[in-house]
Structures are given as structure tokens and as C-alpha cells.
């Protein structure tokens, strides 16, 4: 069930009514659990048992790995490894089996065999939440949950199950303890956040997709400047599409009284790769940091190991994004860039600080350079084909002749983002400037109504599949 469907609208209204008519944290948990399973079933009922099964196993494993568990130290670790291995096995079977088979057959020159396994809806996201629960309990960051109901709800919570944000267990479970009354404040905040996300998705991202799809389908036909515009358009599209979806999910969760946390913080303002990953898909990068990078040793075992851990973490992140060598390569390239940037940063550590103006110029240059690197790395991410990616880069850098197509909306939305970023730097230390309007004021009501009307006018009515829903 997409957030952009009438069905979801009806579903959510009914849910709000039921939440309003009921009282008590436990009752609300049951209502939300029921709603989450209905939501999931509407998307694909065939994998409901898998979702429930994973949740049940995690709940059981959680009780075994808890600090208070009667099982001894090594036993806890065994349960932890068993639980995580089960999660990863499920992920590998459904998401990567085809990829592994293709790689194996290609490597050994065997006849090509196609394995058709359906990918369960939201698998990549809820498996990571399941691992988060187990790991947080094992590390003592939270107590194991004795209530199966809460674990079921955490893993299946519908606002975030399809495409995130990935909320860590230690951040989510404390929120379950309160009575989730539907308040005007949450309705206003969450509703406006949802509308912002909707605007980002159907007005900006989907409209940029027109240019991106056309040019990436036949890059050999387009001129260098047209390809450059399309490459920039994709950098904007993927940002607005995914941050738009995140905003909608956050808005829905907030209406229900939950705070999943921020998932994007103007990532193109980052001055280096490390900062970029603290601003882009924050929930995923922090997941990888807490459950992959730090357990590998983080930066605690010397520089060489730090670089290795950084590289591996980015490699796995690439693999998570898609079951193909293009995504692995994308992750590896980001890893290489991150390592290089870190090494460069360490080299500069001993240098004297820059004078104020020169420091600002240097910082601006770093932001632009980082944006260029990230944008270039989006090319293989989008094409999922090395040959095509190289073709695009070659035609851009040789300023090849071809169809002239400088998409107007890429320029408009690009300039728009630039103004937002400048305002963020000027007024908010480079952080996201979004704030809900105070709807008690007449002026704010007019602005909100204008915003809704303009969203309806400029919405691109086309294929609205969310980019990240494929992961």
C-alpha cells in the first residue's frame, strides 16, 4: 500500500479513529500492531508469515542474549550469532541468491541459470531492525523485551517498514511505553511533514525523473551538456525522492506519536564523505556505524585497520542497496573516497588553521568538490551498468555533440536547493531549516493552503514507485 494511494488514506483515517476511541499504551500497541500487519498484507500477504516468524525468533533470541538471561557469556554470544545469521540467511536467500548464482556461473563458465525469487516487501529494512534489536539487547543498550507484542510491533511498524527510516531498537522501545493519544500538535507537525515529503516526491522528484529516464535510456543520443544536466537531475531526484519518502514516513509516525528521528540533513552541504554519510540516509549510515564499523574495530585499532573497516562498511552498504556488481562497485568507490578523504584529513591535522575568509572559501570548495564526487558516483548507481556509466562520463568530458536537452526543472530545483542550503548555512549552522508552520495564525493557514494547491497543480502524474522501495 503506497502512501500516495486512496487506500492508504482510508486505512489511516480508520486507524486514527480507532486510536482516538481507545486508551492505554497496551491497547494502542495492539491497534498499531494490527494496523501494521494489515498494511503489510495489503502490500503482499504471502510474506506475512516470514515477517511474523523473524519477529518471533528475534524475540526468543533477545531473551537469550539479554544481560539478565540465565544463559552464560559464551552461550549469549552463540544466540546472538545464531539470530544474526538467521536474519542474514533470510536476506541472502531472498535478495542475493540470484546474484550469487549469476556470479558463480559466470565465474566458472557454466550455463546461465535464472533463479526467480520474489523479494518480500521491506525485507532489507525490517531485517536490519531485527538485527538492531538483538545487538542492542546483547550490548546492554536496552533490556530484552518480554512482551512479544512489542517486538512484533517494532519490526513491522508500518510507517517505516517499506523504505525506512531504520529506527534502532533502543530508540523505539522507550516510545512504546507512552499512551499514543492523537494530539493536535502531532497532527499538525506530522501532517505538515507529510505534505513536505509529498511535495518533494510528486512535484520535484517525479518531475526530474522525466529527464533522467529519457537521457539514461539512450545516453549515446544526447550531447555532453544534456548528459551533465541529467546527471545533476539524478542527484537531485534521488535526494528528493528518498528524503520525500522519509518525510512522509516520519510525518505518519509523528501523527501516531512516534519520533523516528531525522533521516536527511541537507547532505549536499557536506564538505567530505564522512560528513556526507552523517547527513544522507542517516538511519542506515548510523546502523552500519553501530553494527558493522564499530564491531569491526572502528578507529580503535590503528590507521590501517580504520581504513579497512571504513572500506568494508561502505562495501557492505553498497551491497545492501542492490544485488549487483554495480552496487558493490558503488559502495567500494565510496569506501575508497572515504578512506582517501580521511587520510587527507589526518595529513592536514597538524597544519595551522586557515584565516577566516580563506577558511570559508576552502570550505565552500570542499562542499562543491564533495558534491561533484557524490554526483559522479550516482552515475553507476543509476545505470547499474559499467559500460553505460563510462559512456556517460566520456560524453560529458569530451563535450560530445548530440540532442540538446537542458531540462528546465533541473535548473529550477537545483537553484531552489541552493537557496535552501544557503539559508541553512546562514541561519541554522548548515542544518535542515524545516519547521512546521504555526497553524493558529491566519497567515500560516494561507501559506499551507497555497502549498497544497501548488502541490496539486505541479504534481507529475506518472509512475510513482519510490526509488528506495526496490532495496
Amino acid at each position: 500500500m503506497s502512501f500516495l494511494s486512496v487506500r492508504f488514506g482510508i486505512f489511516f483515517l480508520i486507524l486514527l479513529l480507532v486510536m482516538k476511541m481507545t486508551r492505554g499504551a497496551k491497547t494502542h500497541q495492539l491497534v498499531l500492531l494490527g494496523a501494521s500487519y494489515v498494511f503489510y498484507a495489503a502490500g503482499d500477504w504471502r510474506f506475512l508469515a516470514l515477517l511474523a516468524g523473524i519477529s518471533l525468533v528475534m524475540w526468543k533470541c533477545g531473551l537469550k542474549v539479554s544481560q539478565d538471561a540465565p544463559v552464560g557469556g559464551k552461550g549469549k554470544k552463540t544466540w546472538l550469532i545464531l539470530g544474526i545469521c538467521l536474519d542474514l540467511l533470510v536476506l541472502c536467500v531472498f535478495k542475493y541468491a540470484g546474484f550469487f548464482v549469476d556470479t558463480f556461473t559466470a565465474a566458472f563458465g557454466l550455463p546461465r541459470t535464472t533463479i526467480g525469487i520474489l523479494l518480500p516487501l521491506g525485507l532489507s529494512f525490517y531485517i536490519f531492525q531485527a538485527i538492531s534489536y538483538l545487538a542492542d539487547v546483547y550490548m546492554g543498550k536496552m533490556k530484552a523485551e518480554s512482551s512479544l507484542r512489542k517486538v512484533l510491533l517494532y519490526i513491522s511498524f508500518f510507517p517505516q517498514i517499506v523504505s525506512g527510516p531504520i529506527v534502532k531498537a533502543r530508540d523505539f522501545f522507550p516510545q512504546l511505553e507512552t499512551d499514543h493519544e492523537i494530539t493536535w500538535e502531532n497532527l499538525s507537525w506530522g501532517g505538515q511533514k507529510f505534505l513536505t515529503g509529498l511535495f518533494k516526491k510528486i512535484v520535484i522528484a517525479d518531475r526530474l525523473g522525466i529527464c533522467v529516464d529519457a537521457v539514461y535510456a539512450a545516453p549515446a543520443a544526447y550531447s555532453g551538456i544534456s548528459l551533465l544536466t541529467a546527471v545533476l537531475a539524478y542527484a537531485l531526484q534521488i535526494y528528493y525522492d528518498f528524503s520525500g519518502y522519509s518525510d512522509m514516513a516520519i510525518g505518519v509516525a509523528r501523527i501516531l506519536g512516534f519520533d523516528p528521528g531525522r533521516n536527511f540533513n541537507l547532505p549536499y552541504l557536506a564538505a567530505n564523505p564522512s560528513e556526507f554519510w552523517k547527513r544522507w540516509h542517516i538511519s542506515l549510515s548510523s546502523w552500519f556505524r553501530d553494527y558493522v564499523y564499530i564491531p569491526l574495530g572502528g578507529n580503535r585499532k590503528g590507521e590501517a585497520r580504520t581504513y579497512r573497516n571504513l572500506f568494508l562498511t561502505m562495501l557492505f552498504s553498497g551491497l545492501w542497496h542492490g544485488a549487483s556488481w554495480s552496487f558493490v562497485a558503488w559502495g567500494a568507490l565510496h569506501g575508497a573516497v572515504s578512506v582517501f578523504s580521511r587520510a587527507l584529513g589526518r595529513k592536514r591535522k597538524g597544519e595551522a588553521p586557515d584565516a577566516a575568509v580563506w577558511g570559508k572559501v576552502r570550505h565552500a570548495f570542499s562542499v562543491i568538490l564533495n558534491f561533484c564526487v557524490v554526483t559522479i558516483l550516482w552515475i553507476p548507481f543509476r545505470t547499474n551498468n559499467f559500460g553505460k556509466a563510462l559512456l556517460i562520463l566520456r560524453r560529458i568530458f569530451t563535450w560530445a555533440p548530440g540532442i540538446h536537452y537542458v531540462y528546465v526543472y533541473a535548473l529550477i530545483f537545483g537553484i531552489g536547493l541552493l537557496f535552501v542550503e544557503m539559508a541553512a548555512v546562514r541561519f541554522h549552522q548548515g542544518n535542515d531549516i524545516w519547521r512546521p508552520l504555526d497553524l493558529s495564525r491566519f497567515g500560516s493557514r494561507v501559506i499551507l493552503c497555497c502549498f497544497i494547491l501548488l502541490t496539486a497543480v505541479f504534481a507529475y502524474i506518472g509512475d510513482s514507485a519510490f526509488i528506495y522501495a526496490q532495496f
Partner: protein, 360 residues
Amino acid sequence: MRKWGRQAISWAAAVILAFCICNAAMFLYEVQPGWIERENGATLAIWDPGTALVAGLEGRGYYHVDSKGYLNDSIPTEPGYCVVVGASFTQGKEVENGKRYTDLLNAMLSEQNGENSDGGNDAAVSARPSFVYNVSQEGYYFPDIASGFYALTKEFPDAGTIVIETGKTSFSDRELEAALDQRAYDEAQNGENILATLSPAKRFTMRVKEAMPLLNILKTQAETVKHRLSEGEESAKGEEEAKEKDTAAYSDRLEPVLKMLREEFDGTLIIAYHPDVTICDDGSLSPVRYEETEVFSRLCRENGIIFMDATQAILDAYAEDYSVPYGFMNTTMGKGHFSQAGHRVMAEELYKILVGRSGQ
């Protein structure tokens, strides 16, 4: 209760004010004149005469509706003019005024006629149309054009040349049968005359819609949603119809229509065809070919109708400077209506025929 009442009034006022603000902004983006349907005219509908059209959804253009309800800067005065009739491709509101193929043709012809007016071949000059008049309506395709052909010749009795624009050469049996059913001509439904036949309520509704471009746009959005939801069913139906057709049977259905057109009009009759194109992976431009095009072309020749196929000219233009006949910088290339390049190709091809016919 009073508090809720005040809140409701405040929100209602906010909605109204927001609507007014956004509606005002839409005058810069997309404005449609009033749409007046008619039963007995050259076209099935005309725009409200004297109003303006602003196009921003696809391309960008600004036009004034003339007294006949079409988009032209002036009305033909001298006999022997050329009428170009077609759908939205001919209407050309996506390009700026002066860049449509009918406007370009006008400029080319007046330049040519001006060059030859002193010391040139008077017979050739007088045989050449002096003015090109654009008669177009959105969604006005060949079968409807054919069924309105009698009315067209009555509305423009002094036309020396008629050009029928079409992007398709394949029509269903139902469409071709309906094409033979000629619409009557009623002068009372011509241009400004039609306004007198509208009821006060209809006229008021039309004026209100003209003053509210925001409503039109929202209506278009809603229709697009509906269309997208029903797209799957329609394409399945279309494929079924295409499978059933064979060229011999198609020829038998099409010929009476073309014969009828030829019999209805003594002057130069041209069918200007422009194919759909695809931008291929290897960077080439490929026209979409249909078997019916060959049938259409042959039957035109056999019935004394000039069949202008712009395919080669489109490919030549692409080979020269990668210009694509359809698409805009605010939509996508290769799809949609004629780009400036597309209009230029059509004008050049028609010009060759019109000048050639006059013995130049």
C-alpha cells in the same frame, strides 16, 4: 461551539485567499480560453473569440484567439489562401507565436511572393497561396477532419489549398465509417456568431472558467490520474484492433474517405503526415513505421491528393544538427508536440510543395 465556528470561518477564508493567490499566479503559467463545442462547423469546437491562451505545461507560448475562434494573428482576406487543418500539432501553442509551421510558411511565402512580385512570373505568383490560415482544434484527428470537410469548404469557400495534418495513418473501421458522415454547415456557429447561440448560463460558466485557470489545471490533473488508471485496459483493446486489420481490407475502407475529400474540393489538397519517432540506444532517431502508411500514400496518389511524408526530412534534420521534431526543455525530447525544429521541418516540406505546384 463559537470557537469551532470561528476556526471554521478562518480556515474557509484561508482556503479562499489561497485559491485567489494561486489562481492569479496561474495566469503566468497556463490559461485556456473558453471551449465552445459545435455540431455544424469546420471543427467540433472553437476557442472563445477575443480571448488569450497561455501555454506552460509543455513548451511555452502565448496566443490570441481570432474572431473565428482559431489561433491566428489575422483572418484571410484575399482569395486563394491556404487552410491548414489539424489537431494540437497544428495548433502549436507549445512554441512561441511566429514559430509554428503555419506562421513560418506565411513568412516564407510572403518573402517569396515579395521577391517575385516585380519582374517575376505573375502566373506562378498568383497560383501560390498568399496566406496560410491555421484551423486547428485539440484532439481533431483525420477521421473528424474528414467528416467536417464539407463544413470546412463552406466556412472557407475562397481557399485555394487545403492541408490536412495527421500523425497517424492507421484508423479503425468505425472511425473511417464515421468519417463519411459529413457534418452540415451552419453559419450561425461560425466564430463570434456562436456566442449569440449560447445560453446566458453557458456563457457565464465559460467566463468564470476563463477567469479560473487554476480550476482548469486541477481538472486536467484529475483527468490525467483517471487516464493513467485506465491505461492498461485501453492498450489491450488497441492491440486487439491492430491485430485484426489487414491492408487490403484497410484500403477498401480508406479509399471512399479520400475519394470523398477529393470530390468535395477542387483546389490543391495535401495530406501532411509526420511519424512518431524513437530515440534509440545507439543515438539514432528511428521513425515508427506502419504498413497502413504505404496504403494511405498510394490511395492519395490514386485520388489526386498530395501525400507529404515528412519522415525523410525529419531524419535529415536530425542527421544535420540532432534536432528532434517533438519535445521541449520542460518535458522530454522525442515525445509530445512539435518542437520548433518539428515546425520548421513541416514548414519547409510544405513550402517545397506549394512553391513547386505554382510552377517555380
